[in-house]
Assembly symmetry: C2
Amino acid sequence: MAAWARQTRIALRPHAKTHKSAQIARLQENAGARGIACATVAEAELLASAGIGGLLLTAPQMGDGKFARIAKINSAHDIAVVVDHIAQVDGLAASSRAGDKPLPVLVDVDVGHSRTGVADLGEGVRLAQSIAASDKLKFVGIQGFAGHAQHIPRPDERNSAADNAADILRRFAKALTEVGLDCELISGSGTGTYRRDAAGPYNELQVGSYVFMDSDYARIVDESGAGPCFEPSLFVLATVVSVNIPGQVTVDAGSKALATNGPPPCNLVGAPKGSSYRFAGDEHGIVGIPAGHKAPALGDRLLIGATHCDPTVNLHACYHVIDAGQAQTWSIGARYGE
Amino acid sequence: MAAWARQTRIALRPHAKTHKSAQIARLQENAGARGIACATVAEAELLASAGIGGLLLTAPQMGDGKFARIAKINSAHDIAVVVDHIAQVDGLAASSRAGDKPLPVLVDVDVGHSRTGVADLGEGVRLAQSIAASDKLKFVGIQGFAGHAQHIPRPDERNSAADNAADILRRFAKALTEVGLDCELISGSGTGTYRRDAAGPYNELQVGSYVFMDSDYARIVDESGAGPCFEPSLFVLATVVSVNIPGQVTVDAGSKALATNGPPPCNLVGAPKGSSYRFAGDEHGIVGIPAGHKAPALGDRLLIGATHCDPTVNLHACYHVIDAGQAQTWSIGARYGE
């Protein structure tokens, strides 16, 4: 991704919601990322404490506690945040610390995802003006995340949704320029639409899933029809714990080990080609073995490819990173309550 | 549940896979439970280190590491385990520590769930005999978990599946008695079938979900048609973070806060009656507000009832326990890698 972005002359701000890992963020930074996107204040705190710069909090936050934590990060580190309501502008300004640099703020634009953001052009301009009017804050641009477009399988339909989102952002940027507010940052995109989005108006891409390339994204072919550019890298290690039924084995990885909101896992390393996986409770999965093939033995280890990486990572406390036969353990942070 | 069990003269060994909490296990023990069931070695270690007695590991384990950890618990605490294969019998015997009391072992019987357990009667008898023949192990009985029966909505169909499971266990117990192996323990059941299962041959019930009573179980009416006996007690606290679209608000609880493999959350405290919840990514959910009702305001807090408690608990590091206006924080342990 870093090589493609360099070649395409577009900036990357990869999303930490995928990995929740300071080590992976550092690798992305070293590969040329301008910064790292975060979905939660806890993710931003994790990365700030590891010295990762260029943080962007991509979801509007609410509550004095959250505003104070953002102000604290801004005191010692480098963070920008998005807002979609004047109450957030007021709250962030009120929570700023005396003597600190102004907090960089972007207006979150609803580009059709209907989750967060401002859909109305006039409202977006007023919000940007209120940011610019505060001496505690600094208006730096707009964000639009076309979450609804990322997983559309057909390239033409996906491109169409991405283009509509881009058009909305273009209109917001133009309206802001007309009132004297230039967008230094136009941020957004994802692993499903990043190639299309490189055409603009984005000047940075918040791609996340590419780093693990879950199999739901992997089935989405790119515009050229050449298939995905990234190899799946995230697997859950499971042990065969029961073998009493012909044609299947039971493994000790279920809905507490693998996110259930993707397609069923299909990439099973260590099982015969054509084997299937189905969830069988919190701690178990059942691997179906195709007829005529030898089933894995009791105690054998299988690698189960994650089909939805972000919520699968969130189920674990660490990665075991395998590189050229060497293993390292990297912690997964910023989970709820940690 | 404890009151009902006392009245019915059946023993309880509530399942810790639901709560992963030493404090809740202690409450269950104090209410009269004979012990606590665990799904993983980590859960057993958590409870053993808190001094909880009468542990039963309800899933067959594999691997020298697991066997050694079980032996270590058996050295200082009180644990029994299930097996469904001779390799587990041999492994547990080989991992026993010199001078320790024999490890109590149950044969896991496949009562129609087709996940773990022995389905063949002769095989079950041979397995029990091999346990009894080891001076490191002690045969104490059988287990059968009718996981396939627990969530069947219609009482007659659920009872029928439960009765079939009970008949299988009865046949195994009889065959074992005939070879001189009495079943001190016949363990199994769950929140969906516990009333039916009290008729036997079970002499203890491994009920788990009742303690939080997720809404998927709550829709299952009991035999009398009187509805569930337990009130839902598990909620995720969420904050309204975006209010720009009429008829809906966005909250900061999504698929990293609530398990997605139950029905969509429907018990929304703080939102108007008739409000709906849908998942909108890792960190967001969208609450639909019925026409004519006032939507919650930006920054308002909602309680979202969990529809599948066990995997929802697994997403969090602690409970905030509210009793008579007082709050305590209890930790959630034994999650992967912790």
